[in-house]
């Protein structure tokens, strides 16, 4: 006889809707929260994430800003230092480079440089990733740029539950948070409990448990990795898929626990491989768990090129299922 299961009410959401629910939730729960960015109001957001929020919350809290990335991020930092909880939106991470000075020289630095006096509770949302044929100035993955910098938390938010719950948690952080979202996957639907679960910002998430090899990834690429893991399973290889989620700080414990079990790891990311998150992950595993490893750690990243416009070249540049399977074969000594 099986125990009766309690039927939990669920809802089907696109990732886009999940991101928006996270924003609405934050705006409703805390009067200090406001949004500032380009075309987030009347237009509804470059990726329609903020559609309808202007009508619901008004122009004081949904602030359409001019095309001024430095002023948007810098003013968000100043407002955060003076009692507000701003969420600055930068359309794509390619544009975020315009504001990198404010992020690095101010947001990440002021608390330490002021001897602990001025913390900066700002959240900066931006997007990353290719796959929409928008060429080399709208497609890149700059998570590693930001994750390099002490003093900021960097989050990669690519699942529905995270999208719905991570923003509120990020706003509770007294220090700056840079949050990456992923346009390529925004139409993916998932069924979720109606009531959001709390999301832990500090830990990586195991998206697929497995025992033979650890696949470490983050962002939209995890869907490709999960596809590869499914194919590997058919071939008798049981892959564990870890979504890092937090790119700074990194959750070493989850990585090391997994590698202690699987003895093999491949890191897959959409950012360039050189000096990427994968390089850091591989270094940490090597430093802390070298003798657990049965093979050198594999790394797959974007081809070291500016992302091109034509579909076949874009696909050739990005991590694909076949390449992941081949990399796994190499660490399994099957290649």
């Amino acid at each position: 006889m099986t125990a009766p299961t309690i039927e939990q009410a669920t809802v089907t959401l696109t990732l886009r809707e999940a991101y928006k629910q996270g924003l609405r939730d934050a705006l409703m729960r805390d009067d200090r929260v406001f949004l500032m960015g380009e075309d987030i109001g009347a237009y509804g957001g470059c990726f329609a994430v903020t559609m309808g929020l202007l009508d619901e919350f008004g122009p004081e809290r949904i602030r359409d800003a001019p095309l001024s990335e430095v002023a948007i991020v810098g003013a968000a930092i100043g407002a955060a230092m003076n009692g507000m909880r701003p969420i600055a939106e930068i359309m794509t991470c390619n544009f975020s480079l315009l504001a990198l000075d404010q992020v690095v020289n101010n947001a990440a630095t002021l608390l330490h440089m002021s001897g602990g006096q001025f913390n900066v509770p700002v959240v900066i949302r931006t997007t990353a990733g290719a796959g929409k044929q928008v060429a080399a100035q709208h497609s890149h993955s700059f998570e590693p740029f930001f994750a390099h910098v002490p003093g900021i938390r960097v989050l990669s938010v690519a699942t529905h539950e995270d999208a719905r719950g991570v923003l509120w948690q990020a706003l509770q952080d007294p220090d700056p948070v840079v949050l990456f979202e992923y346009p390529r996957i925004m139409t993916i639907e998932a069924e979720l409990p109606v009531e959001p679960a709390a999301v832990d910002l500090d830990t990586a998430a195991i998206r697929r448990p497995g025992s033979d090899v650890t696949l470490v990834t983050y962002g939209a690429t995890q869907y490709v990795v999960l596809e590869a893991a499914a194919a590997l399973a058919e071939d008798g290889v049981d892959a564990e898929v870890i979504d890092l989620r937090s790119l700074r700080p990194l959750d070493d414990a989850t990585l090391l626990t997994s590698v202690a079990k699987t003895h093999r790891a491949v890191v897959v990311e959409e950012a360039w491989r050189t000096l990427g998150i994968g390089a850091e992950v591989a270094a940490r595993i090597t430093e802390e768990a070298f003798y657990d490893l049965d093979a050198p750690i594999g790394r797959i990243g974007c081809a070291e090129v500016p992302l091109p416009y034509p579909k076949h070249l874009e696909e050739a540049a990005l991590p694909q299922v076949t390449a992941i399977i081949e990399a796994v074969a190499r660490v399994m000594h099957r290649g």
């Binding site: 608390l111 002021s114 913390n119 007294p174 220090d175």
Partner: protein, 337 residues
């Protein structure tokens, strides 16, 4: 070549001057001047290291501006900030300890000359990035406005910051949103070694700022009474909800850009010409002419300031260094506010 105004404008408004207030202004300028002169000595003695950007010659601006502010108004500054910090009311001892890199410094010794911070007096720091503090100031003002407070934010920057995109993005945003910011541009004629006319096609910076629909005017930055009067007009308008104001304070630094600068790009005759308009002797003469200050009175101020500086140096010398174990403290917050 940068030229000072020929008029002795300090004589224009003395009859309205309250004697105590006049002496206060003089004392503040002398405090800043003597503090920095002592810093130069201490730098030569290797007790202060790193960059040291002196404000000598520009003291009338910090002094005159602060005289128009309330204690709860905010200041965002630059790396040439000692004058702003002293005039805003940061203690001279903790400032000097900061110069020494000691733990009792205003920023625990971590920032040095360029990065003085003090939450208690709403001093949002010296910023080492030219124009880096300007967007931040706009945000501080935005937060006050959104929280229904009538505080204003004064953002100091040099004329070199007008070269930067951050200035233009920020003043436009402040104007668009009617934010309570005073854009206080200290035009000393040179961004490091670059003369204004070699850097800007339009050298009238108030005119440039007015292109953002921001009321903008020039003020003689060598005359503390003119600074106070010109700033008070702005502060009243801003606090009244009139949106931001831009003031171009025309001034000059008597010393080089920093202690590393051999000052090869300025004609010594030009420096001498501007020194004729030194704000401290100007105000001393005005107060003397009005019968508000005699030689003894001046000597008393100088002696009291010297004592204050001696005490600040002693405080700095006595302060311990921050323990090395604290190196990584405050990379992230230790408590959730």
């Amino acid at each position: 070549m940068s030229e000072p105004h020929a008029t002795g404008s300090a004589l224009l408004r003395p009859k309205d001057l309250d004697p105590d207030h006049g002496r206060h202004l003089l004392r503040e300028m002398i405090r800043i001047r003597r503090f920095e002169e002592r810093c130069v000595e201490l730098y030569s003695g290797a007790l202060i290291r790193g960059f040291l950007h002196l404000y000598i010659g520009e003291e009338a601006i910090a002094t005159g501006v602060m005289a128009t502010l309330r204690d709860d108004d905010a200041v965002v500054s630059t790396y040439r900030e000692h004058g702003h910090a002293i005039a805003k009311g940061l203690g001279m001892g903790p400032i000097m300890a900061e110069m020494f890199g000691k733990v009792d410094g205003v920023s625990r010794g971590r920032g040095g000359s360029m990065h003085l911070f003090d939450a208690a007096t709403r001093f949002y720091g010296g910023n080492g990035i030219v124009a880096g503090g300007i967007p931040l100031a706009v945000g501080v003002a935005l937060a006050d406005r959104m929280q229904g407070r009538d505080r204003i934010t004064v953002c100091f920057f040099g004329e070199g910051a007008v070269d930067e995109g951050a200035f233009h993005e920020s003043i436009n945003l402040a104007s668009l949103w009617d934010l309570p910011v005073l854009f206080a541009c200290e035009n000393n004629g040179y961004s490091m070694g670059m003369a204004l006319e070699r850097a800007e096609a339009q050298t009238d910076l108030a005119l440039k700022a007015s292109g953002y629909a921001v009321p903008s005017w020039h003020v003689d930055g060598m005359d503390v009474l003119a600074v106070e009067e010109g700033t008070r007009r702005a502060v009243t308008a801003i606090r009244g909800g009139g949106g931001p104001v831009f003031i171009e304070y025309e001034t000059y630094r008597f010393r080089a850009h920093s202690m590393y600068d051999p000052d090869l790009y300025r004609d010594p005759a030009e420096v001498e010409l501007w020194k004729q308009r030194d704000p401290i002797p100007q105000l001393t003469e005005t107060l003397s002419d009005l019968g508000y200050l005699d030689a003894d009175g001046l000597a008393t101020i100088e002696a009291e300031v010297a004592t204050e500086i001696d005490e600040a140096v002693a405080f700095a010398e006595a302060s311990p260094l921050e323990p090395v174990e604290d190196l990584e403290r405050f990379v992230t917050s230790e408590v959730t506010p």
